[in-house]
């Protein structure tokens, strides 16, 4: 058993990074062709294939199609009506979702919000509720005139009024900030009812009554990083990549993904793989200059009098030295001459 285990052990000097890069890079080239082959339910059309791969590796702040699966407490898990109510409670409704237009009256110092009756109906809201909510959020006096909400800005400064109008448009009237629209769906695996949203707001959702905070899943890596920390982000990167590769019917050893995720999160921060992340923070001046923005790196190195330790692969190949990986990793601890010298001294 012990022998078998040793067989799988990586030898010293094995260039694991290069192997991981090749193991991930090769299937990535194949994914270009497959990018549009996946479709699902309307709510489940998520970025897949190469675009999603690029998104993860580039450590984009927000995925192109964020979503969250929310499991609910066992007590209400069977009651679809309760779930629908919960979904309504979570669903984020912004002013722009229910209004037709916003009119700014600079001379009077007021902003008029024209509400859309049909949209209000659809969201089970009334003009009254909206007006009181805005009053509460902005702490400005609001008067209701039919379908119009008149907000007294308390200033006649054009810039301030414009800013207010812009902010008003983004204001959340109902639901959780950044949670997106929620809907009820059935988990295809467990056949249990759960909620799905088209955005991610873990911090807001965790406090909502009735949801199972231990069983929330989101594809937004940065949201996990903000709420749960780097370790969670690292795991999220791995699960997201694994899911993606599984969908694309590509099998890559998990170790490669782990190595990539580790490299991206090693500093306690989620870094991308590129000029502003991993590659841009290499120690060697030559290695950085060989990648991108050659002149910038050389000039900065000159300005700060940097010296290149010549420990990496790129810079040693550049100079024509043996690389310090694989067979080049090993060095003699004691040199031949030193042995001869010590022998002489003994004598």
């Amino acid at each position: 058993m012990a022998k078998k285990e040793n067989m799988f052990e990586i030898s010293a000097g094995e260039p694991v990074g290069v192997i991981a890069a090749q193991s991930l890079g090769e299937p990535a080239t194949q994914m270009v062709l497959k990018a549009f082959h996946f479709a699902g339910l309307k709510s489940e059309i998520a970025t897949a294939g190469l675009p999603r791969f690029v998104e993860i590796v580039d450590a984009k702040k927000k995925p192109a199609t964020p979503f969250t699966y929310i499991a609910v407490d066992k007590s209400i898990a069977k009651d679809e009506q309760k779930l629908i109510r919960l979904a309504k409670k979570i669903s984020e409704i912004k002013v722009s979702d229910i209004s037709r237009r916003i009119v700014e009256e600079f001379s009077k110092g007021t902003i008029i919000l024209r509400l859309d009756f049909e949209k209000l109906e659809a969201n089970e809201l009334t003009a009254k509720v909206v007006a009181s909510k805005i009053e509460k959020l902005t702490k400005l006096s609001c008067t209701l005139e039919g379908m119009d909400v008149r907000i007294t800005a308390g200033t006649r400064n054009i810039k301030q009024i414009r800013n207010m109008a812009v902010q008003l448009n983004k204001m959340t009237i109902n639901g959780i900030d950044g949670a997106g629209r929620a809907a009820v769906r059935e988990d295809p695996k467990t056949k249990e009812l759960q909620l799905i949203t088209d955005n991610s707001s873990l911090s807001g959702l965790l406090d909502v009554e009735g949801i199972d905070a231990y069983n929330i899943y989101t594809n937004d890596i940065f949201e996990e990083y903000r709420v749960f920390g780097v370790e969670a982000a690292r795991n999220a990167i791995i699960t997201e990549l694994e899911k993606l590769l599984h969908e694309s019917e590509i099998s890559v050893s998990r170790r490669h993904l782990e190595l990539l995720a580790d490299a991206m999160t090693a500093d306690g921060d989620v870094k991308n793989v590129g000029r502003r992340g991993l590659s841009g923070e290499k120690e060697s001046v030559f290695a950085r200059a060989a990648y991108e923005e050659t002149v910038k790196h050389l000039i900065n190195a000159a300005a700060f009098g940097e010296s290149d330790p010549m420990q990496g692969v790129t810079e040693n190949i550049l100079m024509g030295k043996q690389i310090m990986l694989g067979t080049g990793r090993v060095e003699l601890a004691v040199k031949k001459e030193d042995i001869a010298k010590s022998k002489k001294e003994k004598k």
């Binding site: 000039i299 190195a301 990986l325 990793r329």
Partner: protein, 608 residues
């Protein structure tokens, strides 16, 4: 703009001409004028519905195509006219002048409803295709049964036809093309099309009818590889001649100097050695029918030196000369076919030498049928080892059957069947696209084959040439017109061990013409790094590339040099003389130089 909202803008060759009220009626009026001869037939007009604009085009460079005009659901090319056309009472020009056929450009086509066949005509039809096969281009139209092949293969097919070797011009013996290929025994295809016949391609064909069997052969024809019969090759199958022309001119230079054709004197700069000029005549030109090998001089020429100072020799009388002979390119050989001496427009003597080389099909040469089915010879099999039929027929070429279903080139199979029946009857078969139903054709050819005692589907019993055993399955075989393409290994083969390097980087040159190496690129490097083969990386990228030894100052870290007169190493920056010899990539030295040029001062620190 509001003023013109209901008005339709008329553009003439892209410029605004004016406005009309009803664009459709206006465009129709122009068409009417064109058809009855009031306007030139070269005018095209289109009404753009989306923009409510009329575009009239009468400029050059539009691709146009003829269509039969349809009016009131009836083709204007009546039976009566067709009879007259057949009797040669009228011609195509008559039909155009009478407004029966008109040419449309791409833009006007947008306004039409074209019927493919006369039976497809409806109330709304405006035009009728002259021939449904007209959707194919000229080159492709020479290939048969196009309607049975998949669209991507059409593009490939047309490309291969263009690349085929044949008789490109009947006066090829008098021509001096920079390079040309002439097929030895060209044959007209057994399956032809109307376009093929009407352009007279039978008189200078570009391929041969191969006996093809759809069979594997011991793994030699996997993928797109093909196996050919050696006996057939020896009989002249696919054999061709390759002609290459070398030309030179006695140029005149300012200052009265002049090139001259002659065997260069041994004192000339760049003299190639006596043996290189051995085959030249007294006039410095090679004789026709001389066998020439790589490195042989074809045209001996001396030119005045490149720079003025050199021309004034020490004695002042004897001028130094430069050898500027034309040498046979590396890895080429053949026989001098023809040598001509003429004069250029500038009244200088011009010599053209044409070298010919035999190109017998060999492993690596490329062939293609007219259905986008290409293949490379992987094995030239001795006839006795080829499979043979009961009658003793041995195929010329074995094509792997796996190449057919995936690529959907059923035209290839149909041609095979038609070719076989044509070979039996001795009559050429017509394979023009859309002239018959596929199943009818199979039946027709099958009947002919049956009447000659063959299986109607073209299958035959075969025996293995090596074991003599009968194959359990019958094998489909027939005749297919194959083209030999001009991609031949003997013109592409290239090797390098040591050779020329680039001046700037000291790295090996690139390309066959410069005896170059093959690039060991970034990704290849990554593979070696991935294996941890550190010394192999160094060997490829340094020792076998641009290795150089430089002297590095131990004191200041700059690159110095050795003063061979004083026998000391010198550092030009700090003036020190303690320098170490270091092996680095020459490209790295260049990088250091370039960094210095941008006012950055790099220093090399050394261990110990």
């Amino acid at each position: 703009m509001a003023k013109n909202e209901e008005k339709c803008i008329v553009y003439m060759n892209g410029r605004i001409l004016g406005y009309v009220k009803d664009g459709v009626a206006y465009a129709n009026e122009i068409r009417k004028g064109r058809r009855n001869g009031l306007l030139s037939g070269e005018i095209n007009v289109s009404y753009v519905n989306k923009l409510n604009e009329v575009h009239i085009n009468a400029d050059s460079g539009r691709v146009r195509k003829p269509y039969i005009i349809v009016e009131d659901g009836k083709s204007k090319l009546t039976e009566e006219l067709l009879v007259k056309l057949r009797n040669k009472e009228i011609d195509f020009g008559y039909l155009i002048r009478r407004g029966i056929i008109e040419y449309l450009d791409a833009e006007e086509e947008e306004n039409t409803d074209v019927a493919m066949k006369e039976s497809d005509i409806t109330k709304n039809t405006t035009h009728l295709e002259v021939d449904p096969a007209g959707i194919f281009g000229f080159t492709l139209s020479t290939a048969p049964y196009l309607e049975h092949n998949s669209a991507p293969r059409h593009g490939m097919s047309a490309n291969f036809i263009k690349q085929s070797q044949g008789v490109f011009a009947t006066n090829f013996n008098l021509r001096f093309e920079s390079r040309s290929y002439v097929l030895f025994y060209p044959q007209a295809p057994l399956v032809q099309t109307s376009v093929y016949k009407s352009v007279g391609m039978q008189r200078h064909p570009s391929g041969q009818n191969f006996v093809v069997a759809l069979s594997t052969y011991y793994g030699y024809n996997m993928g797109d590889a093909v196996v050919v019969n050696k006996a057939a090759v020896d009989r002249g199958l696919g054999r061709s001649m390759y002609y290459k022309m070398y030309a030179d001119e006695e140029r005149r230079y300012p200052g009265g100097q002049k090139d001259s054709f002659k065997i260069p004197p041994a004192t000339a700069e760049g003299y190639l050695g006596e043996h290189a000029y051995a085959k030249l005549g007294d006039d410095g030109l090679i004789e026709p029918e001389t066998k020439v090998l790589e490195g042989d001089v074809l045209i001996g020429k001396v030119a005045p030196p490149r720079f003025l100072e050199e021309s004034i020799g020490e004695s002042g009388l004897q001028e130094k000369l430069r050898d500027d002979s034309s040498v046979l390119k590396p890895s080429e050989n053949g026989v001098v076919d023809s040598v001509i001496v003429t004069e250029s427009t500038g009244a200088t003597r011009v010599v053209k030498v044409r070298v010919r080389g035999l190109r017998v099909p060999e492993v690596g040469d490329k062939f293609a049928s007219r259905h986008g089915q290409k293949g490379v010879i992987a094995y030239v099999v001795p006839q006795e080892d080829m499979p043979f039929t009961e009658q003793g027929v041995v195929p010329d070429l074995l094509l792997n059957p796996h190449g057919i279903p995936q690529r959907l080139t059923f035209g290839h199979l149909l041609e095979e069947l038609a070719g076989k029946s044509a070979a039996m009857t001795g009559k050429i078969v017509d394979g023009t696209a859309f002239t018959g139903k596929g199943s009818d054709r199979v039946e027709e050819y099958g009947k002919i084959l049956e009447s000659f005692g063959f299986n109607k589907m073209g299958n035959e019993t075969f025996y293995d040439g090596i074991t003599g055993k009968r194959f359990k399955a019958t094998i489909f075989n027939g005749l297919v017109y194959y083209n030999r393409l001009y991609h031949m290994v003997s013109n592409k083969l290239q090797v390098r061990s040591k050779g020329p390097v680039q001046i700037l980087t000291h790295q090996p040159t690139e390309g066959k013409a410069r005896q170059g190496g093959l690039r060991f690129g970034e990704m290849e490097r990554d593979v070696l790094v991935g294996y941890g083969a550190s010394l192999l990386v160094k060997e490829r990228l340094l020792d076998q590339s641009d290795k150089g030894t430089v002297l590095v100052c131990k004191n200041c870290g700059n690159i110095g040099y050795r003063d061979y007169i004083k026998r000391v190493d010198v550092c030009p920056i700090c003036g020190g003389s303690d320098l170490a010899a270091v092996e680095i990539s020459y490209a790295f030295k260049l990088l250091l130089d370039e960094i210095k040029s941008m006012h950055i001062f790099p220093k090399i620190k050394m261990k110990g």
